[in-house]
């Protein structure tokens, strides 16, 4: 029994809210009122943050490198689009959950393929699944609208009360609330004994199995969960932009997502959110410099990050904020990206 209470007290200690976290969410909320003309891009950031959070669950906590996470994003996006287009589920929140569940089912089914094999096989299988779905969506263009995408999606008001407006205000608050709720859930999960066992698996699957962690079952569970999150992110994309086209499955989306997560750092949940903000700002900046060739600079950022070393960059970026936090609150509150998965 002592071991169990030990684990739970450890987990509880880790799960305590830090001041920096509260500040982070207050800042996020403040942005909504500070930049009322920027709702569209902020919605974009929130969606991307949620999507990156979902990759963080499998990459940062379970160590699965996926090059095809866009598969679940795409399935979520098309599910939400089709549900709204054919009027099957008109209420956006229920449709959102339904779309997430569809993606989760796909995640559950494909997880058995993914947990087999080593890194390279996983890369290929995840990439293959995303490409397969893209090919399927193109093939069944009578359902998906082919390369034109789904057209004429009209969203009903959220909970029958809040209609989507053209400035994206409703869309933004809707996305932010969804992100916050899902974040709380993810936070609860990664600090639970389940989350601790995932970290054990990431660090050493063999040893984790030896101390009695059911490795494969845990991986299936977290992969399904991540698929659910990605599906919700995709559904949010469709609901707030009222379109879904083939590029939701594109390889670039999965690759960008990796970049987002790597900028922010893996394995501490905020990485995806911070990464999304930095990535979107970088993208805007590069696009304003060279509208056509911004991809070059994004690539350069990736190369530099890897060559300099991810952990080193995060340490140096967090140096100043940590210094300030230490002055006010003491050592306990310091923000540390727990570990960067290799």
């Amino acid at each position: 029994m002592t071991a169990l209470t030990d684990v739970s007290s450890q987990a509880a200690a880790g799960a305590r809210w830090r001041i920096s976290e509260v500040v982070f969410w207050l800042l996020a909320l403040a942005c909504a009122f500070l930049f009322p003309s920027r709702y569209l891009i902020m919605t974009d950031i929130v969606r991307l943050g949620l999507f990156a959070l979902s990759l963080d669950l499998i990459l940062g906590y379970a160590g699965i490198v996926s090059l095809g996470h866009a598969a679940f994003f795409g399935v979520g996006a098309y599910s939400a689009g089709l549900l709204a287009l054919h009027g099957i589920i008109n209420e956006p929140v229920i449709a959102l959950v339904a779309a997430g569940l569809v993606a989760a089912v796909l995640g559950f089914l494909t997880s058995f393929l993914v947990i087999r094999g080593v890194d390279l096989t996983r890369l290929m299988v995840t990439l293959g699944i995303a490409l397969l779905l893209e090919a399927l969506a193109e093939r069944f263009s009578d359902v998906t609208g082919g390369s034109d995408g789904l057209q004429g999606i009209e969203m009903q008001p959220i909970l029958g009360l809040f209609a989507f407006d053209m400035f994206g205000k409703t869309g933004f608050f809707y996305s932010l609330i969804v992100l916050f709720i899902l974040f709380l859930l993810a936070r609860r999960i990664v600090y639970s004994p389940f989350g601790l066992s995932l970290r054990a698996i990431r660090n050493n699957p063999l040893r984790a199995a030896a101390i009695g962690v059911p490795v494969n079952r845990r991986l299936v569970a977290v992969y399904t969960l991540a698929a659910f999150y990605a599906g919700i992110a995709g559904a949010l994309f469709t609901q707030t932009s009222a379109l879904a086209s083939l590029d939701v499955f594109a390889f670039e989306r999965s690759a960008d997502l990796m970049l987002v997560l790597v900028i922010g750092g893996t394995g501490y949940l905020y990485g995806g959110l911070i990464g999304a903000v930095v990535f979107k700002m970088l993208q805007e900046f590069f696009q304003s410099l060279t509208p056509q060739y911004w991809l070059f600079w994004i690539g350069l950022v990736l190369v530099v990050i890897v060559l300099v070393g991810r952990a080193r960059i995060h340490r140096s970026v967090l140096f100043v904020p940590n210094l300030i936090i230490r002055q006010f609150v003491g050592r306990k509150a310091v923000v540390v990206p727990e570990s960067d998965a290799s």
């Binding site: 990459l59 393929l113 490409l131 090919a135 790597v262 190369v303 290799s342």
Partner: protein, 289 residues
């Protein structure tokens, strides 16, 4: 019947082309366990070098091919010494991110320099049209590809099996640590092989401009094909990737001809099934490290 044979021939030509394009990747993966998604960028470099030489400087096509090889190999060795070698000991995630970064940079750079539209290389008249062999139409260009790639494959096999360098390379692939212990300079062997693989990719890129199409998105579009060749073929020998490329080439051509609506669906499904069935590739023998 004739059309079946023509398709088969096209498939073989396509497959051999894929082999020349991808065999360098097999070495990178097998020898250093390095996931290099940027391999297609070297192929694209070779293609564009050839295109510029032939179209703008008026070189004959066959004279430009060796230069495509040399140019890509030179780029390869510079990047290997400057960047790649720092990443051999890192995790796969870092390698993937790094090579995706390189792909993005190469795509945008080529777009900037050469424009985003598809580039065609002017072919000599001798390579155009078809010849009729026992009632089977065979494209001259494809015939040339089969000949060149066939000779290259033979040469590679001979180098690997018969020369001293080949045996060093095989030793290094089988067990790098033991190879270093025996006094083999593994980093040097690897740098040379990497450059050679990039050169082959460049040559393949030049040859494939006519068949696969050459535009700045080449490395992204065909990345998956190269990876399929290597993962399905396994990286422990040269025969595995060769058979895998032939299989892929024939399946892809046949798929596009007979079930055009299914598109690339067939290929991806086959790949996933094979990887589930044999995670180390159809012909792989070493366990994954």
């Amino acid at each position: 019947m004739a059309s079946v044979l023509t398709n088969l021939f096209d498939g073989v030509a396509y497959g051999m082309l894929l082999f020349v394009l991808a065999c360098g990747l097999a070495v990178t993966l097998g020898l250093m366990n390095f996931v290099n998604l940027a391999h297609g960028a070297f192929a694209m470099a070779g293609g564009y070098i050839c295109a510029v030489l032939v179209n703008n400087s008026g070189w004959p096509f066959f004279a430009a091919l060796p230069l495509a090889f040399a140019g890509s190999a030179a780029i390869g060795i510079v990047l290997e010494r400057a960047l790649y070698r720092h990443l051999y000991m890192r995790g796969h995630l870092d390698q993937v991110l790094f090579s995706i970064g390189l792909v993005f940079m190469s795509v945008a750079a080529v777009d900037y320099v050469m424009g985003s539209s598809r580039v065609f290389i002017k072919l000599p008249a001798a390579l155009e049209g078809q010849i009729d062999l026992f009632g089977v139409g065979i494209g001259r260009y494809r015939l040339m590809i089969v000949v060149i790639c066939g000779l290259l494959t033979l040469a590679l096999q001979l180098i690997l099996a018969k020369t001293r360098f080949g045996s060093r390379l095989r030793a290094a692939v089988d067990d790098p640590r033991a190879a270093i212990g025996l006094g083999i300079n593994v980093p040097q062997v690897f740098a040379f092989t990497f450059a050679f693989g990039c050169g082959l990719a460049g040559l393949g890129g030049a040859l494939s401009a006519e068949i696969l199409g050459l535009d700045p998105y080449f490395p992204l579009k065909f990345m998956i094909y190269f990876l399929i060749v290597v993962t399905v073929g396994g990286s422990s020998s040269i025969t595995g990737p060769f058979l895998a490329s032939l299989l892929l080439g024939i399946a892809d051509v046949a798929g596009k001809y007979y079930v055009p609506k299914m598109g690339p669906f067939v290929i991806y499904t086959v790949m996933i099934v094979i990887l589930i069935w044999r995670p180390n590739g159809l012909f792989g023998r070493t366990a994954a490290r």
